[in-house]
C-alpha cells in the first residue's frame, strides 16, 4: 500500500494543484481586484501586474465614493457594523438560552427531552422563507419590523440549534461523576453547573459560539426580508452596493474582502472545532 509509483505521484500532485487552484483562485483574484483602480480592472487582457492602490478601501472607510456623476455617500461601514452587532448579539442571546438547555438535555434526561431537542433541531432544516414571509406582516403589527431586536430574535433560528446540539455533545463528554461528587459535597445544583460543568465544557461552548457567529454573519435571507437599508448586514448591503455604485468594481471587491475577512479569521482560529460544529456534533475532526 505504501509504495507509490512516480506516475501516481505526478497524478496526485496535479490533482491537488488543480483543487487548490479552483478553490483559492476566486479569493486571490478578488483580493487583487480590491487594490486596483477601475482602469486596471477594465484592462483587456487582464493582468496581475498593476500599481496597487488603497483608494478603494479609503473610499469605503470614509464613506465617500467619487463617481463620474459626483460624490456618492455609501454606508458600507454601517453594514459592517450591523453585521458585527447582529452576529455578536445573536450569539450572546443564543448562548444564554442555549447552554442551560443543552445541559438539561445532556444531564437531566426528562420526559419529552428528546422530542423538544428534535423540534429545535428541525428548525435548522425548514425553509426560512416559510417563516419569514408571515413574520414580515406580524412584525409590522407588533412593532418589531426593522428593529435590531426583531432581527436578533429571528437569528436564533440559525444560532440556537447549532449551539444547543454542539454544546450538548460537550456536556455529554464530561463524566457525570465529577458533578455528582461536587453535589454530594453539599453544593447546590446551580453551583455545580457554574463551577464544574461550565468550565469543563468551556472550549466547546466557545467553539459553538464562534461557529454560530460565522453562520449568523453569513446569513443573507433573514436580513434581506426583514431589514431596511440602515439595519442591513454586509451580505445584503454588498448586493445593494453593487447596484448603487454602478461600475466601481474595485470598491465592490474591497467590500467583499472586508466582509469575508472576519469569518476567515474566526474559522482559522476555531478550525479544530469546525468539523464537529458543521456536522452538529456527529463527526469529530
Amino acid at each position: 500500500m505504501e509504495h507509490t509509483s512516480t506516475l501516481e505521484k505526478i497524478l496526485r500532485g496535479t490533482a491537488i494543484t488543480l483543487v487548490i487552484l479552483f478553490f483559492m483562485f476566486p479569493i486571490f483574484w478578488i483580493f487583487l481586484m480590491s487594490f486596483q483602480t477601475n482602469e486596471t480592472i477594465l484592462r483587456v487582457p487582464p493582468s496581475i501586474v498593476f500599481e496597487p492602490t488603497l483608494s478603494n478601501y479609503t473610499a469605503l472607510i470614509t464613506g465617500k465614493l467619487d463617481t463620474a456623476a459626483g460624490t456618492l455617500e455609501i454606508s458600507f461601514m454601517k453594514n459592517l457594523w450591523n453585521s458585527l452587532f447582529l452576529s455578536t448579539a445573536s450569539v450572546a442571546v443564543g448562548l444564554v438560552l442555549g447552554v442551560p438547555a443543552a445541559y438539561a438535555f445532556a444531564r437531566l434526561k426528562f420526559r419529552g427531552s428528546e422530542d423538544i431537542a428534535f423540534t429545535l433541531l428541525s428548525f435548522r432544516f425548514a425553509p426560512p422563507l416559510l417563516v419569514l414571509l408571515p413574520l414580515t406582516i406580524y412584525f409590522q403589527q407588533i412593532g418589531l419590523a426593522d428593529t435590531y431586536i426583531g432581527l436578533i430574535w429571528v437569528y436564533q433560528l440559525i444560532v440556537l440549534p447549532l449551539i444547543l446540539w454542539i454544546v450538548r455533545g460537550y456536556f455529554e463528554d464530561i463524566p457525570a461523576d465529577v458533578e455528582y461528587a461536587y453535589r454530594i459535597a453539599g453544593h447546590s445544583w446551580g453551583a455545580t453547573f457554574r463551577k464544574i460543568a461550565l468550565p469543563l465544557a468551556g472550549p466547546g461552548i466557545a467553539a459553538a459560539g464562534l461557529l454560530a457567529f460565522i453562520f449568523a454573519w453569513n446569513n443573507f435571507i433573514f436580513a434581506l426580508v426583514l431589514a431596511s437599508a440602515d439595519k442591513q448586514p454586509v451580505t445584503v448591503g454588498a448586493l445593494a452596493f453593487v447596484t448603487a455604485s454602478g461600475i466601481q468594481y474595485g470598491q465592490v471587491a474591497a467590500g467583499i474582502v472586508l466582509s469575508i475577512l472576519p469569518t476567515f479569521a474566526l474559522a482559522l482560529y476555531a478550525q479544530r472545532y469546525l468539523v464537529e460544529g458543521l456536522s452538529l456534533g456527529a463527526v469529530k475532526g
Binding site: 500500500m1 483587456v44 432544516f125 416559510l130 444547543l164 447546590s188 445544583w189 453569513n218 446569513n219
Partner: protein, 307 residues
C-alpha cells in the same frame, strides 16, 4: 467540611423542585423558537387562501385551490424541475469532488492538513458574497473567467446571463462554496476508520481498487449518507447564491422554490401562491430531514461511543 460549606450558603428565596428543573432550563430556548413558529401556522393558513397584497378586499378562503392550480401551472412544474435539477447537480458533483479530495488528503501530513484548512475558506464565505465574487469574475466586460473562456475559443461566453449557461454558473458557485463541506466530513470519516481491515488487505496484497470498493466505501457509507442528506436538504432550498447571482433569471431559468416564492410575495404580491409553494418545499424537506436525523443520530451515537 460539607457542613461548613452548607452553612456558608444562604438558602435561596425559592427552590426549584428537581422534576421541574430541566423544563425550566430548556423552556426559554423553546419559547424563543415557538414564538417564531407561530408564523408557520399562519403560512399554512395563507396557503389555503386567495390572498393578494394588491387586492386585500378579495381575500378569502379558497382551501386547496392554490395547490390544485399547481397541477396545471407550467410555472410550478418549472420550479420543481429547476429545484430538483439544481439539487441533483450540485450534490452529485460535490459528492464526487469531495470524496476525491478527501481521498487525496487522507494521510495526516502537515501539507495535507494545511491544504484542508485552506479549502475551508470558500465554505466560510457567505454564499451571497461568493456569488458576488463570481459575478465580478464572469462579467462580460472584464471578468477573468470570461477572458479564460475566450482563450479557449468561447467568444462572448455570457455565464449567468445566458439562459443556456445560467444553471451551470450557479451550480459552479455552489460547488465552490459547499464541496469543502462534504470534503471535511468525509476526511474526518476516513481518518476515523479502524485500520485493521486496511492493514490485513495490504498484507494479502489485495488490489487497491478492490479495497476502495469493498472496504473503504462501505465503511464510509454512514458519513456519505449524512453529508448527502445534509446537502440535499440545503440545496433544494438554495436562495442566496441564485438570488444574488441572477434573482432567478434569465427569464424563469433559475426560479427555484424559495426564489419563486420570494418573487411571488414581493413582486406579484401573491401571498397565497407563495405560501403554497413554500408548504410543498417544506413537505419535501420535512421528509428528507426526518430520514437525515435518524441517520445522523446513529452516526453521532457511534462516533461518540468510540471517542
Amino acid at each position: 467540611m460539607s457542613d461548613a460549606t452548607m452553612n456558608q450558603k444562604p438558602r435561596r428565596g425559592f427552590r426549584v423542585s428537581r422534576g421541574a428543573l430541566p423544563y425550566l432550563l430548556s423552556l426559554p430556548a423553546l419559547l424563543t423558537c415557538i414564538g417564531i413558529l407561530i408564523p408557520f401556522f399562519t403560512a399554512v393558513a395563507y396557503s389555503l387562501q386567495r390572498y393578494r397584497l394588491s387586492q386585500p378586499w378579495a381575500r378569502k378562503w379558497n382551501w386547496g385551490e392554490n395547490y390544485l392550480n399547481f397541477l396545471s401551472d407550467p410555472a410550478f412544474w418549472n420550479t420543481l424541475k429547476v429545484s430538483l435539477t439544481y439539487a441533483f447537480l450540485t450534490v452529485g458533483l460535490e459528492l464526487l469532488l469531495g470524496l476525491g479530495i478527501a481521498l487525496l488528503l487522507q494521510k495526516r501530513t502537515r501539507f495535507n492538513n494545511f491544504v484542508s484548512i485552506m479549502l475551508l475558506m470558500p465554505l466560510m464565505t457567505a454564499p451571497a458574497l461568493a456569488s458576488l465574487m463570481w459575478k465580478l469574475m464572469t462579467n462580460p466586460g472584464f471578468g477573468i473567467l470570461s477572458y479564460f473562456a475566450s482563450l479557449i475559443g468561447l467568444e462572448d461566453f455570457r455565464w449567468a446571463s445566458d439562459p443556456s449557461t445560467a444553471m451551470l454558473t450557479v451550480v459552479l458557485v455552489d460547488i465552490w462554496v459547499y464541496t469543502p463541506f462534504i470534503m471535511i466530513l468525509l476526511l474526518a470519516g476516513l481518518r476515523s476508520l479502524p485500520q485493521q481491515p486496511f492493514e490485513a488487505a495490504a498484507l494479502d496484497g489485495v488490489p487497491r481498487l478492490f479495497v476502495f470498493w469493498r472496504i473503504t466505501l462501505p465503511m464510509l457509507t454512514p458519513f456519505l449518507l449524512t453529508a448527502t442528506l445534509f446537502r440535499v436538504i440545503e440545496s433544494i432550498q438554495q436562495f442566496d447564491i441564485i438570488y444574488a447571482m441572477t434573482q432567478g433569471g434569465p427569464g424563469d431559468k433559475l426560479t427555484v422554490f424559495q426564489v419563486e416564492a420570494y418573487l411571488n410575495f414581493f413582486q406579484s404580491t401573491n401571498v397565497g401562491r407563495s405560501a403554497a409553494l413554500l408548504m410543498i418545499l417544506w413537505a419535501i424537506t420535512y421528509i428528507l430531514s426526518n430520514i437525515f436525523i435518524k441517520n445522523w443520530l446513529r452516526l453521532r451515537e457511534r462516533q461518540r461511543g468510540e471517542a
